[in-house]
């Protein structure tokens, strides 16, 4: 169980805001922090890792107190040993893939696990490469292994997929699921990508201007309760065209561009760039195999 209760002043473009958090995360859960940029998601992870200090609060992980402003307890970042995967590439550029992983290892057992991890993550043959010679997706795979190899108590993922193209992102999402199933490690993912949240996590906290605005399963949080669609996609509006009494929305869903019709009420409050969920019910789709 992770118990978090803290306040931290943040300087945002809109002025001073307080990141004010009070929540518990059960052991072994995969939780997403969702929100606009500047909402405090990254600060949240940094406080948990010990990279940033809150003004006041209490942090307990698995029975160990990591931070207590009243008792002046602040376990340093090195002793917390959280598995942190950063948004930007944080592999050490002067070390090879293998050296990056060896750097993270504490004992012989961890050293021996390197080859297994490399095989699981599909990085065989890249051990001797320097980070600037491998792709963005491969870099984040290495970063993920590096964060996990010394078996941390929690895994903190700070938008690790945001700089990747769609294909690399989808396959790394699968890797993250695989890692989570293999290790059962309590994982906190920061994301502002709706489809990612729906795909990966069981529980989501929506952070808005430093406060937890909503929480629950991704379905509860993002999908209106009166829709129980047989299938749903999340997409982004790229064009709105008025056509008689209806509107034609052009959406980008995954790799595809699709057009759907929408009533005036449905598009109220939406504009180009808005994220939406497209759901259909009472309707049987055709499944066709794809020509290669």
């Amino acid at each position: 169980m992770i118990k978090l209760r803290f306040k931290k002043e943040m300087h945002t473009p809109q002025g001073k805001e307080w990141l004010d958090i009070d929540l518990n995360i059960p052991k072994g859960e995969f939780v997403t922090l969702f929100g606009e940029s500047g909402a405090g998601k990254t600060t949240f992870l940094r406080i948990l890792a010990g990279l940033t200090q809150p003004q006041e609060g209490y942090i307990e992980v698995g029975g160990e107190v990591w931070f207590d402003s009243r008792k002046k307890i602040n376990i340093p970042v090195q002793q917390r040993k959280t598995g942190f995967v950063f948004q930007e590439n944080s592999l050490f550029p002067h070390m090879t893939v293998l050296e990056n992983l060896e750097y993270a290892c504490g004992d012989k057992k961890e050293h021996r696990s390197i080859s297994e991890w490399i095989a699981v993550m599909g990085l065989k043959g890249l051990e001797a490469q320097k980070p600037d010679k491998i792709s963005g997706g491969q870099k984040q795979r290495v970063a993920l292994i590096r964060a996990l190899i010394s078996r941390p108590k929690i895994l903190l993922l700070d938008e690790p997929l945001s700089d990747l193209d769609t294909n690399a992102r989808l396959s790394l999402q699968d890797e993250i699921i695989k890692v989570y199933q293999k290790t059962g490690i309590t994982t906190l993912l920061v994301s502002h990508d709706l489809s990612e949240v729906l795909k990966l996590s069981k529980k989501v906290f929506v952070i808005d201007r430093g406060k937890i605005a909503r929480s629950g399963t991704p379905q509860e949080v993002f999908v209106n309760n009166d829709v129980s669609g047989k299938f749903k996609f999340t997409g982004q509006i790229i064009e709105v065209q008025k056509d008689g009494v209806l509107n034609i929305l052009t959406l980008s869903i995954g790799n595809n561009v699709v057009k759907v019709v929408a009533s005036d009420e449905e598009i109220a409050g939406l504009s180009i760039g808005s994220k939406v969920i497209v759901a259909a019910k009472a309707f049987n789709p055709l499944i066709l195999s794809q020509k290669k």
Partner: protein
């Protein structure tokens, strides 16, 4: 040849000392949150703007046996700083300090913070992070500091003349020997010293610029 030998001996010792104190000093200036660091930063860069004779003058006063510090060193520790090789080392270290500290500072400032934090999250101490992650990634800055400090020490005149004087075999460096020979109208000897300094400085800088072209492959 003695003045030349003395010059290179001094440059080597001074560069070694500067490397040892320059790295922690630059780290402190870059990573500390103390307001006091701006004072230290300014003091480090003072030799860049002051005439060398000013620093030499203050060192001469500070270490001269008539005054407290010099008196203390001489009577209790038996160390005489003025008009000695030790004095040259102290003066040169102070005078070449910015040439070592400023490049390292610039290297550290452009070093991505995320790499440092990643190392901390992996349980590594600041010291281990410094020597296994930070220093290997700022090699060009270190190399610049080493070369600049070395070359600048070779080229000193004012500070060393003030604090060291002109004692053959002890404080008579090549730069001072040239001045000395010219005064004695020995143009030939002066020209020889000058030519050696020009050639050595030229090749040090040439090798440096060549290596810095592909800085990571040379070590």
């Amino acid at each position: 040849m003695q003045p030349l030998f003395l010059t290179f001996k001094l440059a080597l010792i001074v560069t070694a000392i500067l490397l040892v104190i320059g790295v922690p000093l630059a780290c402190w200036i870059v990573f500390s949150r103390s307001r006091f660091k701006y004072v230290v930063e300014t003091l480090v860069s003072m030799p860049l703007v002051l005439p060398p004779t000013v620093i030499g003058f203050y060192l001469l006063i500070a270490f001269s046996p008539q005054y407290f510090l010099g008196h203390f060193l001489q009577s209790y520790l038996g160390v005489r700083v003025v008009f000695s090789f030790t004095g040259l080392v102290i003066g040169s270290v102070l005078f070449s300090l910015p040439f070592m500290v400023n490049p390292i500072k610039a290297g550290l400032q452009s070093f991505p913070l995320a790499l440092m934090e990643a190392s901390y999250c992996l349980g590594k101490s600041p010291w281990e992070t410094l020597h296994r992650v930070i220093l290997p990634n700022i090699k060009p800055a270190l190399l610049t500091g080493i070369v600049m400090a070395f070359a600048h020490t070779i080229g000193e005149f004012g500070v060393v003349l003030m604090i060291g004087g002109n004692i053959p075999g002890e404080t008579r460096l090549a730069s001072i020997a040239i001045y000395n020979e010219v005064e004695a109208l020995n143009y030939h000897t002066a020209g020889l010293y000058a030519l050696v300094l020009v050639l050595v400085s030229f090749f040090i800088l040439l090798v440096f610029y060549y290596l810095n072209r592909k800085p990571l492959k040379i070590f």
